[in-house]
Amino acid sequence: MFELFVSMVKEEWRLHATIFGSASFALFPVLIFAIAFMGSFLLPLFRTVIPSGTLATLAFALFALLGLMVGAFGLLGKEVMNRRFGQVSLIAYSSRSLPISERHIFSTFIIKDVVYYFFLWILPFIIGFGVASPFIGVSPATPFLLALTLSLSFLTGLSFAFFFSTLYAWSKWLLAAAAIVLLIGGAAAYGAGYQDPASLYPPLRLFENFTVSWLVFSLLLVLVPFAISIAAFTTEYHDAKKRFPDKFSPLEMHLKNFRSPALTAKDLIDLSRSGAGVGQTIFSFLLPLGLIWLFLSLLSALIPGPGVFLVFSLLTGVVASTMYTWLTEFDTFSTYAFLPLDAGTLMRSKVTTFSVLQAIPAAFLALVALGSGQLLYLIPGLVLCLGISFYALAIITWLAGLSPNVLIYNPRVLGLFFIALGPVLLVLITLSFIDPLWAFSALLLAVPVLFLLPRSYRKWTSWEHTTY
């Protein structure tokens, strides 16, 4: 039904426009175009240190990841929007009020996601690359091939997001079994000598060697999971747990020495029960850091001594600072607006929980240091990591208060964040390259942190929380 499709596209647009502002969001494809266009001119430079095949693998992995994220947001969208804006009802959940089957709505929803994100992300990226390609010595056919294969990579991610969610809806054990089968399959292929990811991933193989058989494989990789998802679609979560014992009171007791034990206990329960604690650790922490580590390893020949580990420590700190956004995604200030609490108190408690969560990057960095033989530099690495993490936290609390997940997409906020963070990162990287002992200069970041945090609490307490 075409009307349903059009309504869903409009809804998706308005959803984004509500969060990011109409003008800002309308400029988003232009931003992607500009990044792709300008980034293309860096390709010749990258190729001198990174093999073309590795660059292609990264690009395809990125688009598959994008598809996974779009699919996950599509399925969790209602929950996310309810947390941000209160009661939200989406067309995808309206089969009870419309004379249309859930399966039909779900199929249209998939088509909408494919079309919408193709125009939002993929097409601007391809056009940006295509316009730059004559200037960087890329053959005219490459942008067209990329358009097809990157779209297939995106669709693969999207179809697997829907496939996994369908399995989960039937049984979480089914999902676990599928993950185990995938892991065993991957390990077996690796053991059989297929170490090159391109040989295991049809869209990438298609890009490197266009044949009809790889095109068919790529299409099957998209269509089969979609078909299974639609055929087995259910809105009943068969083994979803509905009842929980009281964890709040014992946890609050354990945290009694904290400044606001009730608020910290609530934050930790939110992370645990929503699945965000594990999910975010994997997808927002380990996965990006894995990619960063891969990228930095490729540059190891160019970076002196322990430089790779120290730069990695800094970047781990930047990624760790996003843990503040994990804590602020569950509810809006309206959840607390009728209690004797102000925004500053809430922010302070979230910063406390954030500090507890910094044990994750610290432990992660210790493991990396152990695994890469850099234990000697663990302490400077930790100082860099935690220093930059708390510094970035102080900036984001000042700029976005309790709504970093929304306001970080505001171009002004994002711009100021990078302006405040970029030079500090650059200085710390340079100093660490000169001598690892200079890493301890990150301790000086305590000054802006201690200056900014209390002011952020006061600023956002006096702010009127009318919408989010």
């Binding site: 009661q87 509905k242 929980f244 009281d246 608020l263 004797p340 609490l341």
Partner: protein
């Protein structure tokens, strides 16, 4: 001084604009101790904005208000510590169970006997079987029971309630109306905002009518009865006249 103590809410020319829209336009009213005061008005008349200003959730753009002697604009946390509030939209935290949520509110409000208080409310509003259910999985009616409980957990002297009975079934409505009447009888004060006039006429002692942000009438239900008029018909005649004007 005595009169100041007895007045629970006063507003003087209270105004709130959102851009070019005047949501509340120079409203002056006062609510005395022991009243069950109804703020009535059609959808979009400014009732929720009034409650949000009185509870310090949003700021007035003009005029002033005092709630229990405090200025909600300057001391929003102080006001919210003393009063109970039930917002129009029930937004308890998604991942706490209803029992955990009441304990959470008890901790935030420093209620010493929170377990006993929570148990009483679970029994009274008949939702003990939902103690261990996450707030996000509760029905709207149960969520409203939960929000009702959290507002009265600390025995406030004043409760501000936005649409108090809208999600309750008739049996529960009777129970809650009875509770509110008892509460007022024992010296409590209730300020409710509603557009369900039958309920307002049944339980309110005094009322004010807001229309397009302006206060168009204040009075008591007794005065109406003495004039042999019903709130429903009185309200409609006032609002229709204003709309036609």
């Amino acid at each position: 001084m005595r009169s100041e103590m007895e007045t629970m809410i006063t507003t003087e020319g209270l105004t709130r604009t959102f851009g070019s829209t005047i949501a509340v336009d120079h409203v002056s009213l006062s609510v005395q101790k022991g009243e069950l005061y109804g703020l009535l008005g059609p959808n979009g008349s400014g009732k929720t904005t009034m409650i949000r200003m009185l509870t310090g959730q949003i700021r007035p753009t003009g005029g002033s208000a005092r709630v229990l002697g405090l200025d909600p604009d300057r001391e929003p946390v102080g006001v919210r510590a003393l009063i109970g509030i039930i917002p129009e939209q029930e937004t308890p935290p998604s991942f706490l169970t209803s029992e955990e949520y009441l304990h959470f509110v008890g901790s935030v409000r420093n209620i010493p006997d929170i377990r006993q208080q929570a148990d009483w409310w679970f029994e009274f509003l008949e939702f003990s079987d939902k103690r261990d259910v996450l707030c996000k999985d509760l029905s709207r009616g149960t969520r409203q029971k939960l929000m009702f409980s959290q507002a009265f957990l600390h025995n406030p002297g004043l409760a501000l309630i936005d649409e108090p009975l809208i999600n309750f079934d008739p049996v529960m409505q009777e129970k809650v109306k009875g509770y509110l009447s008892d509460y007022v009888g024992k010296g409590g004060t209730v300020f409710i905002s509603t557009h369900i006039l039958e309920i307002a006429e049944e339980i309110c002692t005094s009322f004010a009518i807001l229309h397009q942000g302006q206060l168009i009438h204040t009075g008591t239900v007794r005065e109406l009865r003495e004039r042999d008029r019903h709130l429903n018909e009185f309200f409609l005649s006032l609002v229709r006249t204003r709309t036609h004007v």
